[in-house]
């Protein structure tokens, strides 16, 4: 027992530390991780299915500032990240596959944010 303990201690002394120096190093998040998602307005047709199917009612439909040809009702989904449970139900039910999925998770802020800015950046010029 004593010898085994000694080898365990020695191997741990010479092993590289298992800590990831996170803010300096990139995190361990895999590309499969369900991170921040938002609607791509060059595809979204404003059908509101994601808002209906959201389990935590985090999606509201807001009106678009510009007219888009493929979006007759001129509305787009805004995800409230404070309410969103990142289940990706919206991604699954979307009939035109308009959601952009990322594994980005650094969205902590001093007020709950939403996806409207990210979505509006995708409006085709």
């Amino acid at each position: 027992m004593g010898l085994k303990l000694l080898t365990e201690v020695l191997s741990n002394v010479f092993k590289r530390a298992s800590t990831i120096e996170y803010p300096k190093q990139p995190s361990l998040a895999l590309k499969e991780h369900r991170g921040q998602q938002y609607a791509d307005l060059s595809k979204c047709v404003g059908c509101s299915l994601c808002a209906v199917e959201c389990p935590s009612n985090a999606i509201t439909m807001a009106s678009l500032p510009v007219k888009l040809k493929h979006n007759p009702r001129s509305i787009y989904p805004v995800i409230d990240y404070g309410k969103c449970i990142f289940c990706y139900r919206c991604v699954d039910v979307c009939p035109v596959k308009a959601y952009v999925i990322t594994n980005y998770f650094e969205i902590a802020s001093d007020r709950p944010g939403n996806s409207s800015e990210l979505s509006l950046n995708t409006i085709p010029k």
Binding site: A17, S18, T19, I20, E21, Y22, P23, S27, L28, A29, H33, P55, S56, N57, A58, D80, Y81, G82, K83, C84, I85, F86, C87, F105, E106, I107, A108, S109, D110, R111, P112, G113
Partner: protein
């Protein structure tokens, strides 16, 4: 020296579960373990609210736990800060609208940092803590 600045060097966390599903709790616990090791930033779990500087609230704040939350917050010495971890602590998340839930920790105590996610990754929690510290100046 400014008291707020002193906290910046070694904030002690108080973790309180106000009715979470345990998802956020085990991620807070995981954030304290060797892989993420927040003691690099001087972050440590406080055994007692009277020693704590930052309260980490997880979970949909139930009406019964909200009284305890207020009491714990009052017991902490100023300056004090609150981090709401997870969708439930921010707005009630999927439990918002239930008869037993207050819809967010900010209904009971002032919140300084929101960490979205269900549950957020340990890195996201660390990012929230570091961002709060850097905000203190």
């Amino acid at each position: 020296m400014n008291k707020v600045k002193l906290i910046k060097y070694s904030p002690w966390l108080l973790h309180f579960n106000t009715g979470a599903c345990n998802g956020c709790d085990i991620e807070v616990l995981a954030a304290l373990t060797p892989y993420y090791d927040p003691e690099r930033f001087g972050v440590k779990l406080a055994p007692n609210p009277r020693h704590a500087d930052v309260m980490v609230v997880t979970g949909a704040v139930t009406k019964k736990a909200a009284e305890r939350l207020k009491r714990l917050y009052d017991q902490m010495p100023p300056p004090k800060f609150v981090i709401a971890v997870g969708a439930c602590a921010i707005s009630g998340g999927i439990f918002s609208g239930s008869y037993a839930v207050l819809n967010g920790a900010d209904k009971a105590v002032p919140v300084d940092m929101y960490v979205p996610g269900c549950p957020p990754r340990p890195e996201a929690i660390l990012y929230g803590v570091v961002k709060l510290l850097s905000k203190l100046g």
